[in-house]
Amino acid sequence: MTTNISVTVNGTKCDIANVEPRLLLSDFLRDTLGLTGTHVGCEHGVCGACTVLMNGDSIRSCLTLAVQANGAEITTVEGLGTPEALNVLQAQFREHHGLQCGFCTPGMLMTGEDLLRKYPLASDEEIREGLSGNLCRCTGYQNIVAAIRSAAALRAEKTP
């Protein structure tokens, strides 16, 4: 059994035929579309490396079937900024050295995007609580929290 799906990924509509229902969204993004920025770690919802936005909400792409994204808008790390023009959060990750090996970074960024949009992030505790579903095996959390704190402050300045 296969189905055809239509997904908008980073603003581009993708019509893909013959998708097996058991194909995970994470594998769809990486293998079918070649968007390898989304990382696959634990593949059972613990590590958060595969986090992407679906219709603006952060989700685990390893816990979502590609067919469930039919008709949805997906944003992956490739949709945030470019190497030449990083978005605010990416720039703050670089500024604060918020990445070490970089494996968890795409998930941290996508979770951070969702947090910045939905929560006031007034305290570091709120940022840490928001990031609690994302693991960094380098344990570089201090700088990740600092990067998000800084991005939240910059956004607050822009939108009084």
Partner: protein, 285 residues
């Protein structure tokens, strides 16, 4: 491909979903938020022949005031409950507990009907359904029936549903209280609880009129501690009440141990959380 092969259907109505389950002859599984089922599929611990995706049934997603009860549709996502002003004002203990329900990305997908049906003994919503004395409305081939939360959880990860029944909505009676508290400790914020307790009290001055107590993480199902509630109804309130309450709670529960924490640790933790919860509840809010 991580999961084993399955057929996939997205019915538009509950009736069609039940029909799809019936057609699957016991080999079907319901997909709601998928935050517990997908890991099981990825590990191939679950290998259903047919996955019946409820996400096409829009009328299963709502939060609605009905007299002295709040009704929540089974497909309502944790995040919607967490953010709902109606929940915050009418079911404050639930509102306080929602930030402990897994992590942001999981709350964006996970549903109340899915969490209750999955029946994890250390998950917040099953315990809250006991705490509030909720009623689950379920639909199957024979029509609808109502199940009290206290009858719903049979064992760890086991509910009392027949194979082709689906939870469609849950009704939560609002509680009258003068104070309440929700306490939880998990290894990582948002992970399943090592121990947790919800308490609410009604009082007239220094007399306790009524109390509600539920715990989780310590037994094969969440527990409502009716015996403890009964003992509390008969005591006066003084500085020693939180300590006595902690004793009532720990003497009525015998905690399970596992890989994450020993039985002794959980038992000790539950006592500490009980004391803290009663202190907060008596301080009133």
């Amino acid at each position: 491909m991580k999961p084993a092969r399955f057929d996939y259907v997205v019915p538009a109505t509950v009736d069609a979903a039940i029909e799809a389950l019936r057609a699957a002859k016991g080999e079907g599984r319901i997909l709601a938020g998928g935050q517990s089922l997908l890991p099981l599929l990825n590990f191939r611990m679950a290998r259903p022949a047919v996955l019946v995706d409820l996400n096409g049934i829009k009328e299963l997603s709502f939060i609605e005031l009905r007299g002295d009860r709040l009704a929540i549709g089974a497909l309502t996502r944790h995040r919607e409950i967490e953010q709902s002003p109606l929940i915050a004002s009418k079911l404050p203990v639930m509102a306080a507990a929602m930030r402990h329900v897994a992590h942001l990305a999981i709350r964006n997908r996970g549903t109340i009907g899915g969490s209750l049906s999955h029946a994890d003994p250390a998950a917040e919503l099953p315990m809250l359904s006991l705490f509030y004395g909720a009623e689950l409305h379920v639909q199957g081939p024979e029509g609808r029936r109502t199940i009290a939360a206290e009858d719903f959880f049979v064992d760890a990860l086991t509910n009392c549903l027949a194979p082709e029944e689906i939870v469609v909505e849950i009704e939560f009676p609002m509680l009258q209280h003068d104070g309440w508290a929700f306490e939880e400790v998990a290894r990582r914020f948002g992970d399943f609880a090592l121990a947790s307790i919800a308490v609410s009290v009604r009082r007239s001055g220094t007399r306790m009129d009524d109390a509600r107590v539920a715990v989780m993480g310590v037994a094969d199902t969440p527990l409502r501690l009716r015996q403890v509630e009964g003992k509390l109804g008969a005591i006066g309130i003084d500085d020693g009440t939180p300590d006595r309450f902690a004793e009532f709670v720990t003497s009525s529960v015998s905690a399970n141990g596992d890989l994450h924490a020993s039985a002794e640790y959980r038992q000790h933790l539950l006592g500490q959380l009980a004391r803290r919860a009663m202190q907060t509840a008596l301080a009133g809010r």
